[in-house]
Symmetry: C2
Subunit: 462 residues, 2 copies
């Protein structure tokens, strides 16, 4: 952790910058769109390309892991230090769909370097952020004079993240022994901004259900029967309305049990970020903030659970009117969860609560899909401190903390491998994930390289 | 009002029964389905057939009234008594769709006489109930020895009732002078049962609206933004839930203003009817009664206003889940109204109330379609007493009172012509309106003839 090694890393990276960017551009030319079946061969080609590149980088073992869907890539470079900790890096090699018609200024699969940015689908999400690990480990070896990394380094780069990772948990369970690690590093998130480097310390979990409400055996006439039998659309609406109290807290008994309330120190850390609510609302395409009483927007999206209606439907939805009492209605609900909440327990609480709320004469069914557990790394976790130190050296400034409001396959790694999950990403909000003209800032990409060059030494204690 | 004239009427009807049923069967053979464009010519043929038949019956003037849709038939037979009151009979000559595949045991447009019933589409709704007026007026003349009826008799038989009467109000307004009457008699309803003859004294009115709720400019991610911006589907659900209080009374301020509460005498009249709630629930295809606290089912559907959700929709309604905050949501509401409530005033009350309930950050729009006013005939109205007397003579038993929960074009006649609306129908619930194997009971059909034979004399004071 010396100024000398910092500048040695920079020199090494500068020397390899052009080849690194050329290689990344080659990979970005492969349109590995997992959601579009006509790109299946491209996704396989992307996996093969990455496996070959990792072998060339020096990983001693590289392998394609097949799933019932698109293949993942697994690579291993073990340390010759028997006491070295084991790190598993997670990322994905598939990308979102992209077409010039969507508003791209250039071909999304023909990378363009311009004004210090590399434009291409996947430049930031997630090929760029996977790829900085290749040069990072080389820089680590070069400046430490080691022949093997100071950590046992494993990479698991999946091929279906943009399709919802349908086979990821099976994959992790099938290969749990080989994937075993002391810490998981997910490189598939971002930072607050170019000028405010941050590390993400957690993601929310998720429980999702659909509830159907059965009223009359068929739509019945609202004149003949209206006012005298229960209406399933009304029952659905009342259930949704009853989810929250006047302070926008969720009313389901036991829902908040076990949640660690935000500490003053954590709230202070959130408030240090240069949050611009008007700008955030523009991103949310919304007109007003709204949520649990007494909390800021960042506290609401990062540290508090939610109950949202994703869909609601019942009765006649076409043009004009139709004077019926609908036969049935349904709502789709999703609950974002925070540390201390378990999706299986939430499923039971919601199920029990719904059963008490449905009126006599209305039948109901509730179905949950597989839940996702929340991840949260304690701020004093030693590995997190390593990440903060390594980023601090790369960025030359104070590293602050963020969280993610969403939920991701990282939770499967945490659950199956029993290892803490850390997040190391250098993308910024303007990178345009899933949008036209996705790009990555070259300077930040190289800071990612630099961070990992320091991180393996820090984690490995050298 | 003598036993002699009662038996004379019966004798006359018996003598003409066969020709009457043969003629009705001819009319029922015309598939005048107004909702199916390929039957447009049949609807026109049905109007022509009826106009010719009314001319043959003796109506001095018969005419096809054209609309922007299907034609109506207007016929007039004025009294030679200059002080005779004027009666306008309303019915319709179009029918619901019908096909053998729907479960008919015989061709729906080839009438079958069996076990004292006439089976055909339109037998009860509404050709049979229009047609009893043809023999009724002849019987009236025959037994009174008159050459013209004791009332100025007008018939308006529309051709679009089963399609929602889209041009009916325009028609009535365009011909208001010629349709002018002291009383309107609607023959398009039914009685309680074969053994409990009743007269309907009112229909509920109707106000209908659609409310759209605008949230984010597009669907947004429920992880990134959930819990911190308002959700339009939640807003829609909360609005619906807020429509009623715990006693299932509607909470919109002023909604009940001006309603005459049910008197003890009216409640007593309702309770005299042999109501079987289990049987009613089967008709409603529902599993439990539900509604305003402290009221019976009949009170709820006949004498109280409602707020029903006819449709609700927003967000993702396909299979599986989608973790979004929807961009928009909508609800379709209908309000059944009772005497004392005006659709225009209800529209304003609902509009104002909705505006106060939509949360900050959610845009909304509310659109009402044309409303229908409620009809209610006071039990002591002289014309209603005439109907009760005439029915009492025909049926030989006490006539009780019902109401209709639905709303109908009768209200347009009440509004435009300023005349009270009475209901004279002999159909029973088992007749199967809008269902396969629709039929009419021949005995009841002839009681309809008999009732009108007495009614014109009673109303005309002879
Ligand atoms: Zn990604
Ligand atoms: Zn009808």
């Amino acid at each position: 952790m010396s100024d000398t090694s910092d500048s040695a890393v920079r020199t090494y990276i500068e020397a390899h910058r052009t080849a690194f960017l050329d290689d990344l551009a080659d990979w970005l030319r492969i349109p590995s769109v997992s959601a579009q079946p006509d790109h299946d061969a491209d996704v396989r080609r992307s996996a093969d390309w990455l496996a070959a590149k990792l072998k060339e980088t020096g990983f001693l073992s590289t392998e394609i892991l097949h799933t019932d869907g698109a293949p993942a890539v697994f690579a291993e470079w073990l340390s010759d230090d028997p006491s070295a900790p084991t790190v598993l890096v997670y990322g994905h090699h598939d990308v979102q769909p992209a077409a010039v018609e969507d508003g791209w200024h250039t071909d999304p699969f023909e990378p363009v370097l311009k004004d210090g940015r590399l434009y291409a689908r996947g430049a930031a999400d997630d090929k760029g952020q996977v790829f900085f690990h290749t040069l990072g480990v080389r820089a680590h070896l070069a400046v430490t004079g080691r022949t093997t990394p100071a950590v046992n380094l494993k990479l698991l780069i999946e091929g279906e993240e943009e399709s919802g990772s349908p086979h990821f948990r099976d994959l992790v369970e099938a290969h749990a022994d080989r994937l075993a690690a002391d810490v998981v590093i997910v490189s598939d998130t971002g930072m607050w901004s170019e000028t405010t480097p941050t590390v993400c310390t957690g993601m929310r979990g998720l429980a999702e259900c659909e509830i159907t409400f059965q009223g009359p055996d068929q739509d019945i006439h609202s004149g003949s029967f209206g006012g005298a039998v229960p209406n399933p659309a009304t029952a659905a609406a009342r259930l949704v309305a009853a989810l929250h109290d006047d302070d926008e807290r969720i009313t389901i008994p036991g829902f908040y049990d076990g949640i660690a309330e935000l500490t003053e120190a954590e709230r202070e850390l959130f408030s240090e970020l240069p949050f611009d609510e008007a700008e955030w609302l523009r991103t949310a395409k919304s007109r007003a903030p709204h949520g649990e009483k007494g909390l800021t927007t960042l506290e609401r999206i990062w540290a508090r659970p939610t109950a949202e209606v994703n869909g609601i439907g019942g009765g006649y939805q076409g043009p004009g009117g139709k004077t019926i009492i609908p036969s049935s209605a349904m709502v789709k609900l999703s609950f974002r969860l925070v540390a201390g909440q378990d999706p299986a327990r939430i499923e039971k609480l919601v199920t029990d609560w719904v059963a008490t709320r449905v009126p006599a004469g209305i039948g109901h069914e509730i179905t949950f899909s597989a839940g996702t557990r929340p991840c949260l790394t304690p701020l004093d976790h030693p590995a997190l401190q390593s990440v903060v130190r390594a980023m601090g050296r790369a960025f030359g400034s104070k590293i602050r903390f963020t969280r993610e409001g969403g939920s991701g396959p990282a939770a499967d790694l945490q659950d199956v491998l029993g290892a803490p999950v850390l997040f190391l990403g250098i993308s910024v909000p303007s990178d345009g994930w899933h949008a036209p003209n996705e790009k990555v800032e070259i300077d930040l990409l190289l800071k990612g390289v630099e961070t990992t060059a320091h991180l393996w030494g820090d984690l490995g204690g050298c």
